[in-house]
């Protein structure tokens, strides 16, 4: 007669009040901090009567940004595409390499110096070459962004895949677990905190990589090209508007990663709220 005694689920709809209550502790502190920084900046420019060609006030930057929001959004999206593409390729290759190197010290000794050599090669030196190799499209830009992001993921990945609970490893080995089973059941999940930390670093690096690439491998715009252009025209309000757009993208990428981290690392102490 009666419906089965399942707990009644609330109807699925977005409760704005509840959402705001949850999000406010995360939104309010950075917004207040940004507002204070902007106020100090504005006051400094005002009091010292700094020229628009030296440092524009935040109000002018906001003006430039809002009056041409569509432009900055489009260029920002372009840069974001290069960054996320580079991050995917760079981090993907780094994780694959880290798996191999975590399993074999010989392989690590053989390949790590090469990885370091590639890492210390200045992007500035490589960018023109990449244009020659990959053309003027998105390819050289993504390659540069990938190049700048792989290193922290590789280093953290090697450490993460190796940092397993020795007792758990003993237990799995006492059951004759295969290396594949040990990787799937133990090494992979154990490396997740390391990989998330690395991805947060790599996400910001990928934006820098994308901007630098757009600087050197011109064509097809992007925020890097905008910054270069506005710098030349000494339109500092628009220059700073591009930088603000970049900052917003960077923050959003990190927020996305932090949310994913909370979802997948709820078992790890790093995601627990630290005591007061």
């Amino acid at each position: 007669m009666n419906a089965p005694s399942t707990t009644p689920r609330p109807p699925l709809r977005l409760d704005w009040g509840r959402w705001l209550r949850l999000a406010l502790p995360y939104l309010l502190p950075p917004l207040i901090a940004a507002a204070i920084a902007a106020a100090v900046w504005e006051a400094w420019v005002e009091i010292n009567d700094v020229s628009m060609f030296v440092l524009p006030p935040p109000s002018a930057v906001a003006d430039a940004l809002i009056s041409d929001l569509g432009f900055f959004a489009t260029e920002g999206l372009r840069t974001f595409g290069v960054a996320i593409g580079g991050l995917a390729i760079g981090a993907g290759a780094a994780v694959a390499l880290a798996v191999l190197m975590a399993h074999s010290t010989t392989l690590e000794r053989a390949l790590l110096p090469i990885a370091i050599a590639v890492k210390v090669t200045p992007i500035v030196a490589l960018a023109p070459l990449f244009v020659i190799w990959f053309g003027f499209g998105w390819e050289p830009k993504v390659a540069i962004a990938a190049l700048i992001t792989y290193f922290p993921v590789l280093i953290n990945g090697i450490a993460g895949f190796r940092d397993v609970d020795p007792g758990a490893l003993d237990f799995l080995r006492s059951l004759n677990a295969s290396p594949r089973e040990i990787f799937l059941r133990l090494r992979g999940p154990s490396a997740l905190p390391y990989l998330f930390a690395a991805l947060k670093i790599a996400a910001t690096l990928s934006l820098i990589g994308a901007v630098v690439a757009e600087f050197f491998a011109a064509g097809q715009g992007g925020l890097g090209a905008v910054i270069d252009e506005e710098n030349r025209l000494v339109r500092l309000d628009r220059l700073f508007a591009a930088i603000v757009t970049l900052a917003v993208i960077g923050v959003l990428m990190n927020v996305a990663l932090a949310l994913a981290e909370r979802r997948f690392l709820s078992w790890h102490r790093s995601t627990w709220t630290p005591p007061g």
Binding site: D170, L175, N176, E181, W267, H268
Partner: protein, 322 residues
């Protein structure tokens, strides 16, 4: 009644020598009649670079026996257990686990390992942790050797170790004692014939430790109803060893050698109140005396460092030290 038996022990209950007496007409016909020992070590020696960790180890566990190893920190008892588990190869000597090599025992999922740290997977809840060994090395269930039926369902295991209501809890939400209960259930999940326990209660507080002692005996007895479970239990607590074991093996340090063995003839099932009985106290005294009278460290072996696996808080023997 407990009685001390120095090594080498009498042939009746101690480790049998490699060969049975030749041509005894009254003996059971053929060697097949005798069941294989659960664990048989002979002449085992283990050397780390400059340190002789184990030397001349002869030890045999008959099926269904509960054997405790006590010894000072750094006597190599953990190394001994790891050799039995096939996680460490001895430098010298012969190891037979459940009538076969240690590797074969691993492949057949016939071993259950419980260590001092519960070593649970923190991203899995209690139920998934207990299910872990079943999802590993599935081929073992299909081989000719792997006909051992599962000890019990995961639910029954959870009930057995007394964790009803905590199935969905993550390890970090549990107390140390409860984590060790999960580790014990996880080890029992493959219905192992040989349980290898390395100071499983050493990190627990004293009250929990004493409680877990008799919980282990209860769980061991319940699990043994299906098939005999042999236990090798490493500890540095003399009381714990006497309370749990049929035989207490006393080791000396550097090099780790078996110094003596004491049979504990206290009746089972044992209760915590038995710890006040004269027989119990007598056995404890005998083990303590053996640990106290351990000869000084052999300077010839030039030990400058401890073995990697010794518990840091183990009571040291009172004997003179270099």
């Amino acid at each position: 009644m407990a009685h001390a038996r120095p090594t080498p022990p009498s042939p009746a209950a101690g480790p049998p020598t490699a060969d049975p007496p030749i041509a005894d007409p009254k003996a059971a016909p053929g060697p097949t009649a005798a069941p294989a020992a659960a664990l048989h070590l002979s002449g085992v020696r283990l050397r780390y670079d400059h340190l002789l960790a184990l030397d001349a180890i002869d030890l045999t566990l008959q099926p269904g026996q509960f054997v405790a190893i006590v010894g000072p920190s750094g006597c190599g008892k953990t190394s001994l257990l790891r050799i039995a588990a096939g996680l460490l190869l001895p430098t010298q000597g012969h190891v037979q686990v459940l009538g076969d090599t240690a590797a074969a025992a691993q492949a057949g999922k016939r071993l259950g390992l419980v260590a001092q740290s519960p070593a649970l997977l923190p991203w899995r809840d209690v139920r998934a942790n207990i299910d872990l060994p079943r999802s590993i090395n599935r081929a073992a269930g299909r081989g000719p050797q792997g006909t051992t039926p599962a000890l019990a369902s995961t639910d029954a295991l959870i009930r057995l170790v007394g964790l009803e209501g905590f199935e969905q809890a993550r390890p970090h939400e549990l107390s140390g004692g409860m984590q060790q209960r999960v580790a014990l259930a996880r080890a029992l999940a493959v219905n192992p014939e040989l349980l290898l326990m390395d100071e499983p209660f050493a990190a627990l507080d004293e009250i929990t430790r004493e409680q877990m002692r008799y919980e282990l005996l209860r769980i061991w007895a319940a699990a043994a109803e299906r098939a005999p479970k042999t236990v090798l239990f490493v500890t540095h607590s003399v009381t714990e060893a006497v309370a749990l074991a049929d035989r207490v093996v006393v080791m000396s340090a550097r090099p780790g050698r078996i110094r003596a063995e004491i049979a504990i003839d206290l009746p089972r099932p044992r209760r915590q109140t038995d710890e006040r009985s004269p027989a119990f106290l007598d056995a404890v005294d005998r083990v303590r005396a053996l640990l106290r009278d351990a000869p000084p460290d052999d300077a010839a072996h030039g030990t400058t460092h401890d073995t990697a696996h010794g518990a840091p808080d183990s009571p040291a023997p009172d004997g003179p030290r270099p």
